[in-house]
Symmetry: C2
Subunit: 460 residues, 2 copies
């Protein structure tokens, strides 16, 4: 099949302007990685029939297809090798319908999280999920990667927000399961395979989502703590006080926090003592200002030294400065370009021991290595960055991976928390994934995409 | 294959006392339906190897196997025809491990909900799900049917409580996916197929569950309301007041409530006016007694007639009397034995119109028909019982089914909310289920159980 023939097939099968011209394709923004636009052709279907037709051409010609959302994924699930058709969502009909009584949203997959959130807020509701890429990430992409973020410890990940799904499978089957209800037991919940399936089992075209009441205005506290065990005691004390609502709990270990603070316009750590851990707690108090209530709740922890010191943000600017320390992770990456990074989940009871064990293991590999740890305290999702002044050798990379990942499964953790497998974690999946689960995954992929045309080389 | 040969095969393949004797089999309690013990033989494996061996014998001999939990399911997913091997869980090793820091439980599938809840409460936690069959229903069974109940509108169904799963598939593959973390994206989330799979894709042997903080003590209110729209306004007013926590919201329409009240020892309706709808709201107020706060919150609804009248239970006994009206559904069934009953989900915005439309349709079929409606207001899961003084004719049953179920899918509802498909709703699944979804379900069943030995005739 020559490219010319493929273009002819696609032109015959799809709506008039679905196939992008070379000029249009050339200006496509790859967003997080250049490989996101490494395709043979790009198409933007106009409707479900176009997608069915597209898959038909792919099957008939043995051409691979890569579904793409906002191209903000961090595991490489949307990358190409130059031989694939990239399938873009931007020409599909846009739809955001909020039902404020049922507290549901029905949206087209090409809706960005920011657009959904804006529509939900207008009705006093929220999507209940938030990630940094909110302006570009699409709902279809967030479902495909089962996105997580800072609110997952309260609201679950994207999987828990999805009530229904519409998708086209590689064989042309249309899954039309757009339920608007929480309780729906109509046989196997097959949409769950597409949630977190990273585009390897089909193309998500629409979804229904469970919305939540708009979150209340919150106050920001930054605490210096001796360890994660103390941070969890504080978290559970705040959660146990019915006069308070804990909305976020974000943790930064010493090296990340202190190193990153140096490069921030304002350094929120300057009035705090040196500490192994700094945690931002975002708290709402229905009965007025939360500061007194929070400090009263934590009185015992202050007295017993479980809290070294704390700051309550007094202004919006001060709260922003505190959050900048957590959210600006890119600045530090520039100063430590030679790094291996991880997105892992650790059961809360094992947070301290895991961080300490990795520190010991990494130090034994090379004393010049440094570890930056930050993450979501509430669900134990930590991002480790292990960096070196010099480029990492393959042997060192291998050693670092072993140091961070070995033993995680045994304690009930995960080597892959919120970013997915994509191409980045395929080796780790084969190494640390459950063998039985992998066999079942392959059987499902074989059953639903026997020609292996849908995002091949990713995940399975 | 004669029964004698099958016994010989099983005896050779399994642990010494795994095969039940005829005497042991004869005294097995079928619980909800006699068909639950209609099997050829019953086995109780002692370990994973027994289950692998059992499936091997089943495949080799073409014998069907029925996984059973507490035999409390209401859709017939555990029933036999006399030709199958019943697989019981009671001899598998028992395990309940609560991690109070991570707030997780790891349990064997044969754990009852009541036992799990007791262990969780001892650590200040709860399973976050409650169903009437709590003393007999097993976690394995509840996962297989994706059980719902009264707390699902806050905590989701069983699917949202499961973090990890261990199961044996018909081909002997062991899925060992016992994660203890919320964020875990390790490829296709295949455990989701077993959740709600009703034992047709394998035997669940263990699970890890997300626990929640123990729920606070609550006060009980019974409100007389003009319609479901009013009940939803009240519900959302209670949910929107950050000084209150709404824990339960259970609705009873006029005919069910008034008819059932006649047969209760205490009639909680006697001081309330005649109303189209009665709703029990269970509320917690962190700042002391909730009565004043609840009535202050609902002042506007009282003034505008959205609430006709209300009772706040003053004693535990009064609360029990109110709850008996909702929970004792069996008494009324005795007086109306000729009935067709339904377990459906309706998007909240459509509750009123659905109830009214069904009333009109049913009245047109036969004016002697009566409809009893009750259910979970928070998630729109209603149980309709359509009853007649005389035995229902097949034509009338068909008409009633159409009256209740037709048009539900179009508004985003479901003909099958919390009890599953089993054998009871297979016809409805083919009639109202999405054709694309059914095709995918069949492909998955074929891929994972090609010999169709695992609970055949159920669901797909």
């Amino acid at each position: 099949m020559t490219k010319t023939n493929l273009i002819a097939e696609l032109t015959a099968a799809l709506s008039a302007d679905a196939l992008l011209s070379e000029e249009q394709f050339a200006v496509l923004d790859p967003v997080v990685t250049p490989e996101n636009t490494h395709g043979l052709l790009a198409v933007a279907p106009r409707n479900l029939e176009d997608i069915v037709g597209l898959f038909q051409v792919c099957r008939a010609t043995g051409t691979a297809l890569i579904p793409q959302g906002g191209r903000t994924g961090l595991a490489g699930a949307a990358t190409g090798t130059g031989a694939e058709i990239l399938c873009l969502g931007h020409k599909m009909p846009r739809r955001i319908v909020i039902d404020p009584v049922s507290r549901t949203a029905e949206v087209s997959a090409n809706t960005t999280l920011a657009d959904l959130e804006q529509a939900a807020r207008a009705k006093g509701l929220t999507a209940g999920i938030d990630i940094a890429a909110r302006d570009s990430a699409t709902i279809g992409g967030m479902i495909s990667t089962n996105a997580g973020g800072m609110e997952a410890f309260r609201n679950g990940t994207m999987r828990q927000r999805v009530l229904g799904l519409q998708a086209v499978l590689p064989d042309g089957t249309i899954l039309n399961d757009l339920a608007h209800v929480r309780k729906c037991n109509e046989g196997y919940d097959v949409k769950q395979l597409l949630i977190g399936g990273e585009g390897t089992l089909g193309i998500i075209t629409a979804a229904t989502l469970q919305l939540l009441p708009e979150p209340p205005v919150a106050d920001t506290f930054l605490l210096a703590l001796p360890d994660a065990a103390a941070a969890l005691v504080v978290m559970q004390a705040l959660q146990s006080n019915p006069q308070l609502q804990l909305l976020r709990a974000e943790a930064m270990w010493r090296d990340f926090a202190q190193e990153n603070a140096k490069h921030q316009a304002q350094n929120p750590l300057q009035t705090l003592p040196d500490a192994a851990l700094y945690v931002i707690y975002e708290v709402h108090c229905p009965n007025g200002p939360s500061e007194d209530m929070v400090f009263a709740t934590l009185e015992q922890q202050f007295e017993t030294g479980l809290i070294l010191d704390a700051i309550a943000a007094q202004t919006g600017q001060q709260a922003n400065d505190i959050w900048a320390l957590r959210e600006d992770t890119l600045t530090l990456f520039k100063f430590f370009p030679h790094a291996e990074w991880f997105d892992i989940s650790i059961p809360l009871a094992h947070l301290d021991s895991h961080v300490k064990r990795v520190e010991t293991r990494v130090a034994a590999l090379d004393p010049a290595l440094r570890i930056h740890v930050l993450g979501h305290l509430g669900d134990g999702n930590l991002h480790y960055t292990v960096c070196h002044p010099e480029p990492l050798t393959p042997a060192l990379v291998k050693g670092i991976k072993l140091a961070v990942l070995d033993g995680l499964k045994e304690i009930g953790g995960s080597f892959s928390a919120e970013h997915g497998i994509g191409i980045e974690k395929r080796v780790a999946l084969n190494q640390y994934g459950d063998a039985g689960k992998l066999a079942i995954m392959r059987a499902i992929k074989q059953a639903l995409d026997p020609e292996n045309i849908c995002n091949p080389g990713k995940v399975v």
